[in-house]
């Protein structure tokens, strides 16, 4: 009976008006894992194929920002960099931040730039804003490699806690995914969000990568407000993982980022849930209004 197994496993699909608040079909998502891979691969291939400088872009952007920040904030404004050389301090801060900002900016426009996915084929829509968050990880990895020469040049030793970095990247990924869901869905309905978003990202950046958390030690309540920014915990954590010994050697406190992460990580989770919730709620109207 060759047809028997098929009969038993025959999938039954029910198409009906959506109900429930948040239903994610995990089994289906798993089945579409290959598509997620293909789309990510497409994004990367297209991005680097036609670019003049190719892969160098991933390094160039944070590098130029590092140069500017080192000059403006370290040399001119003389802000604290926890005893680290300015370029190292800013480059390390900019690594996870650039990952997040790139992911958010591409993810938020992903639905509008893939209209035919919404109107012509079915696959779980959550895949679309997830792709840029994954593709940007490759950019991050490339930019991370440049850290090597930079550390060698400034003769900065690296701490043993480096193994903790993936956990921090996971938090950054969650924040990028959550905001990506939220803003991509918002943009389908409100096209002018795209003008607002770069502004939000910029303000957010200034609150994240310019100064170390220890600079806020005198402000009691402000520290709690600051900790609500989950990216602050990630950036702070990056420095702690890589350079806690260097910072301590320079006579600064190198507290582990537990305080920031204890507040920031749940906030990251809340952002993901909010984004996913709003995305799933709006998902049913995408094809009709885009």
């Amino acid at each position: 009976m060759p047809s028997l197994p098929q009969e038993i496993e025959e999938p039954v699909l029910i198409v009906e008006p959506p109900r429930g608040l948040l239903r994610l079909d995990w089994k289906e998502l798993w089945q579409y894992g290959e598509l997620l891979f293909f789309l990510t691969w497409r994004d990367l291939k297209v991005k680097y194929r036609q670019a003049l400088l190719g892969v160098a872009w991933a390094v160039l952007v944070p590098f130029m920002q590092m140069v500017v920040f080192s000059f403006v904030f370290k040399k001119v404004a003389n802000l604290s960099t926890s005893g680290l050389p300015g370029p190292v301090f800013y480059y390390v801060n900019l690594l996870p931040w650039t990952y997040f900002a790139n992911s958010l900016s591409m993810s938020s426009g992903s639905l509008l730039s893939n209209t035919s996915f919404l109107t012509k084929v079915y696959f779980p829509r959550v895949i679309i804003p997830t792709v840029p968050c994954l593709a940007s990880l490759i950019d991050f990895a490339i930019a991370f490699v440049l850290l090597g020469p930079l550390l060698w040049y400034f003769d900065t030793p690296v701490g043993a806690m480096t193994l903790f970095l993936p956990v921090l990247m996971a938090v950054a990924f969650i924040v990028a995914l959550g905001t990506g869901f939220l803003f991509s869905a918002l943009q389908v309905r409100y096209r002018d969000i795209r003008y607002l978003l770069p502004f939000i990202t910029q303000i957010w950046m200034y609150g994240t990568v310019i100064f170390p958390f220890s600079a806020l030690s005198e402000y009691g309540w402000l520290r709690y407000v600051y900790a609500l920014n989950p990216m602050a915990g990630v950036v702070e954590g990056f420095r702690w993982c890589l350079f806690s010994e260097t910072i301590r050697a320079a006579g600064y406190t190198a507290d582990p980022p537990w305080f920031l992460l204890a507040i920031g990580a749940p906030v990251a989770g809340a952002i993901l849930l909010t984004g996913l919730f709003y995305f799933k709620k709006m998902e049913r109207t995408f094809a009709d209004i885009i």
């Binding site: 039954v12 198409v15 009906e16 194929r49 035919s116």
Partner: protein, 439 residues
């Protein structure tokens, strides 16, 4: 196990008209609206009995005016292995039905149960990226259509052979001619394996030879016991491929039954449709249209609007259009088809002097096309297809009907079978040989 592949029960789909104004409004408008909405709600709370009721009452009425039921209470069943044609005029709800069944959009009411692995083809080449090569796009497009990588790899050679673009496999598809592009895209789609396949008019692509090949491929599929749902304006294809058909009209199911009976019914109801049409958004294939043809009129020799022409009577078409942007120009195709959807002739604006049309947004323009009438008595239809200066089709308005009638009922020759009138003079030249009689 049930032998039904699809059971649709009371499927309905509601659209809000003017949606591109209303639903994708700007964030600013929504923010500005908050105080007004809050005020209204507050008013409703404070005086819930009288004022609140009349208020909400008038609003409901206003909303109803803007609602369009693209599908209304559509129920049907499809058996396993059955090939079902879905026919109806533009805006009848065919594509909406297909979109609901393939989960691109959700039904507002009702439900459908689909048993078996389903894949749908609403467009060829979804997700094709111009920068990627033919090979890369095969994998990508296959994955988007729901194929596993192993499955694509297994069928890769077959797909390539079918597409006839072997030599250009490693060339970015942006360098492909549009014919090659479409062939490759269809080739991937044609190799989808599933128990249930839904196809929306993808046969309207490529040259005649490739169309025939596609039709053959679909016939293969049909022969292998798969369930197929098939939307087409090509009544010959429906008759040839489908065992049963659904006829939709205004979002409602008018008739189901044996395919050629339904096709016949559809064709006989057609002449009653308005011939000189104000084109509504639903009849456009892209909306908002960048080049919007909003009226199509057929004028007889006297310049009077009509939907029936005399045999041999020269006539003209008047197309009214507006544009969305001033700095683009467009060409136009007018395709004449017979009632079965077979293309009889194509008028191309760019083949004549006044090749391209442009305009200023906010103004209306009229084009007049004078032509002859070579058709025999019968029912015909027109498609109007605007394309941009790169030759890319930007919209398609299909199925504008007209009939050709004989000058008098006694004029028998005008009823002769076929479509094209050819003048002929018959005479007996000479007697060839004894015993040969002219028929």
């Amino acid at each position: 196990m049930s032998d039904l592949a699809i059971t649709a029960e009371h499927l309905s789909k509601q659209y809000h008209l003017g949606h591109h104004v209303d639903l994708t409004r700007s964030f600013r408008e929504t923010v500005m609206d908050i105080p007004r909405q809050a005020g209204r709600r507050l008013k409703g709370w404070l005086r819930p009995s009288v004022a609140g009721e009349s208020d909400s009452g008038s609003e409901v009425k206003k909303d109803e005016d803007e609602i369009l039921w693209a599908l209304r209470d559509v129920s049907f069943e499809v058996r396993k292995g059955e090939v079902l044609g879905i026919i109806g005029q533009n805006g009848a709800g065919k594509s909406t039905l297909m979109k609901v069944l393939s989960r691109v959009t959700w039904p507002t009411e009702g439900r459908a149960v689909i048993r078996g692995r389903v894949r749908s083809l609403l467009e060829v080449g979804t997700g094709f990226h111009p920068e990627l090569t033919g090979r890369e796009n095969i994998y990508l497009n296959g994955a988007i259509l729901g194929m596993r990588k192993a499955e694509i790899a297994r069928k890769f050679d077959e797909i390539v052979a079918f597409s006839e673009v072997e030599r250009f496999l490693d060339t970015p598809v942006k360098r492909f001619s549009s014919g090659m592009y479409v062939r490759l895209a269809f080739a991937v789609a044609a190799h989808l394996e599933s128990e249930i396949l839904m196809v929306d008019e993808v046969l309207a692509v490529g040259d005649a030879q490739f169309q025939a090949k596609c039709l053959g491929k679909i016939q293969d599929v049909v022969g292998h016991g798969r369930t197929v749902l098939f939307i087409s304006h090509n009544m010959q294809a429906i008759r040839r491929l489908c065992s049963r058909a659904l006829l939709l009209k205004g979002g409602q199911l008018v008739r189901t039954g044996e395919a050629s009976a339904v096709v016949d019914e559809y064709l006989t109801t057609l002449p009653n449709q308005p011939p000189n049409v104000e084109i509504v958004p639903a009849m456009h294939q892209t909306w908002p249209a960048e080049f919007e043809v909003f009226r199509i009129e057929i004028l007889n020799r006297q310049g009077v609007r009509t939907d029936s022409l005399l045999v041999d009577e020269p006539f003209s078409l008047r197309l009214s259009y507006r544009v969305a942007s001033a700095d683009r120009r467009y060409g136009l195709l007018v395709v004449v088809r017979n009632s079965d959807g077979v293309r009889l002739s194509t008028l191309v604006s760019t083949y004549t002097e006044s090749s391209y049309f442009e305009g200023v947004p906010g103004r209306d323009y009229r084009i007049r096309i004078e032509t002859c009438n070579p058709f025999l008595a019968g029912a015909y239809m027109l498609d109007v297809v605007p394309f941009d200066y790169q030759g890319k089709v930007v919209d398609r308005i299909e199925g504008i009907r007209f009939t050709v009638v004989p000058v008098s009922a006694s004029e028998k020759s005008r009823f002769s079978p076929g479509h094209i009138h050819m003048d002929s003079v018959w005479s007996l030249e000479a007697e060839e040989a004894v015993g040969t009689k002219p028929l």
